[in-house]
Every structure is written in C-alpha cells, then in structure tokens.
Amino acid sequence: MSLIDLANPTRFLALTARVLPWLAGATVILLAIGLYQSALAPDDYQQGATVKIMFIHVPNAWLSMFVWGVMSIASLGTLVWRHPLADVAAKAAAPIGASFTFLALLTGSLWGRPMWGTYWEWDARLTSVLILFLMYLGLMALWRAVDDPSRAARAAAVLTLVGAINLPIIKFSVDWWNTLHQPASVMRMGGSTLDKSFLIPLLLMAIAFTLLFVTLHLAAMRNEILRRRVRSLQMMQASRVAFSSEVGTGSRQENASTGAA
C-alpha cells in the first residue's frame, strides 16, 4: 500500500475493511498471551503481587504519550499538507488517547494505594499524566465546540503541536516542583532495572495495547469519515430541497434525478 492509496478516503475505507479483522485478531491473540505471561510472572520482592498492576499501567502510560505523538504527526499533516485524512486521524485519536490516559491514572492510583495509603499522591509521574489527561479533555472539548470540522481541525492541530512542545517542559517543571517538596518518589518504574521475568510480559502487553490502539484508531477513523460523509450529504440535501421547492414540485423523484446529474 502506497501513501497515495491511503490518502484517498474511499480507498482508505476499503483498506480498513480488509485490514481491521486481522488487526483485531492479532490484538486478541497478543493480549491473551500477554495476560497469560503476566499471570505467570513472579511477585516482586518489595511490592508483592501488586506489581501485576504494572503490566497494565505501563502500557497505558506509554500509549497516553504515544497517542499524543500520533496526533502531533497528524496535526503536521493538517497544517502542512492540509489533508482531510490527517484531520480525521487527529480527531479519532483524541478520545481513545484520553481513555488510555484515564486508565493510566486509575491503575497508577490503585497501584500507589498500598504504598502511599491514599489513592492519590501528587507524585511527579502521576501528576504529569493528570495534566496530559486534562489536555486530552481540552482537545476533545475544542473538537466539540466548533461545528465546521475543517476549521476545528486547524485549531486542534495548533493546540496539539503546542501541547507536544509544552509537554516536556511541563514534565520537567512538575518533576522540579515535586522534588522541591518531597525528595523521594516511592514508585519504582525504571525499565532497565527490571528483571527479565517482568520485562517479557510487560513488552508483550505494551505491544498488545499498541495494536489495540491501532485497531480502535482505524475503526474510529472510519466512523469519522462516514460522519463527514453524512454531514456533507445532509448539506447537499438541504440545498437540494430549496431548489426543488422553488421549482414548485418538491417531489422526491425530482430530487433523485437532479442528484444523479
């Protein structure tokens, strides 16, 4: 498949219809293997069985950033090439990314509860994810606030890119703010120090979740293309009605024949 194939919405729809079942199947299989491996993984000597939460927290945290990256690339497509498919990709990714970010927050606070004694600690990592979540919600609100999709797309693209530039700055500031107030973060999540028995299920789960995102994203993009098609058809219908009533017939058959012309 070349880039030109993808660029045409109709061909994109055809391609999606072919690819989606395979993607979904692969996701299910990988997820099953990943879950099985996670179940087999030993307990951590410090955290005990709660380390199992990591297997779903980390993939979601990874996706929360990955999806923003995908949206940023799509935003470049919107602003530089003005391609409508890029708008669609960016818009479809936002709610999915927000869901994964929400899961990262939720599992993070459930993971932290046994260690902190509270569900929420203003820990540097979790706080950054919370801000990311707020930015996702703001982006979704922006998409909802504007009726015309192509105008919303440009505004959202600017916001996404500004967000992408700002996120590292926010992360750095939050880290600094956090160490200022409390020296040591309790949560241990360094990738390199992990034992192999944790690393394999973690990687499997991360790949499975990424595949899940790709599947959902393609399906959501297909919905978005259809939604725009409905919208433009409705606008055509609106203008057509005025025409038929001016002629004075207003019959449906008339509409159909002029439509075919």
Partner: protein, 59 residues
C-alpha cells in the same frame, strides 16, 4: 496464583481496564452502525454523492 493482601486492587485495575476498553469498543461499534444507518437513509431519500472523492472536501 495468589495475589496477596492487595488482591482487590489488582482485580479492580484489570476490571477497570477491561471495562473502559469495552466501553470504547462499544462506542465505536455503535457509532459505526449509526453512521451507516444515516448514510443508508440519505441514500434512500435520493441524495447521492457526486463522487467518492469529494465527500470530505465538501465540508
């Protein structure tokens, strides 16, 4: 496989993840049905697209 004293937290996080993902899938499937239904209705009422290409540019 024993989950230790914090079993409820582990189960809750897996259940929550499953729930959110199921909701997400459900929303996408319902949305798809909704849009295809509206397309069919528009098709029946005689509105057709000029070509496959222009549908998205028109907006």
């Amino acid at each position: 496989m024993s989950l230790g004293p914090y079993a409820s937290f582990i189960v809750t996080s897996y259940a929550a993840a499953a729930l959110v993902i199921v909701i997400l899938i459900g929303w996408i499937v319902l949305d798809y049905r909704n849009q295809t239904r509206r397309l069919r209705e528009l098709d029946r009422s005689g509105v057709t697209r000029r070509s496959g290409r222009s549908a998205m540019d028109a907006s």
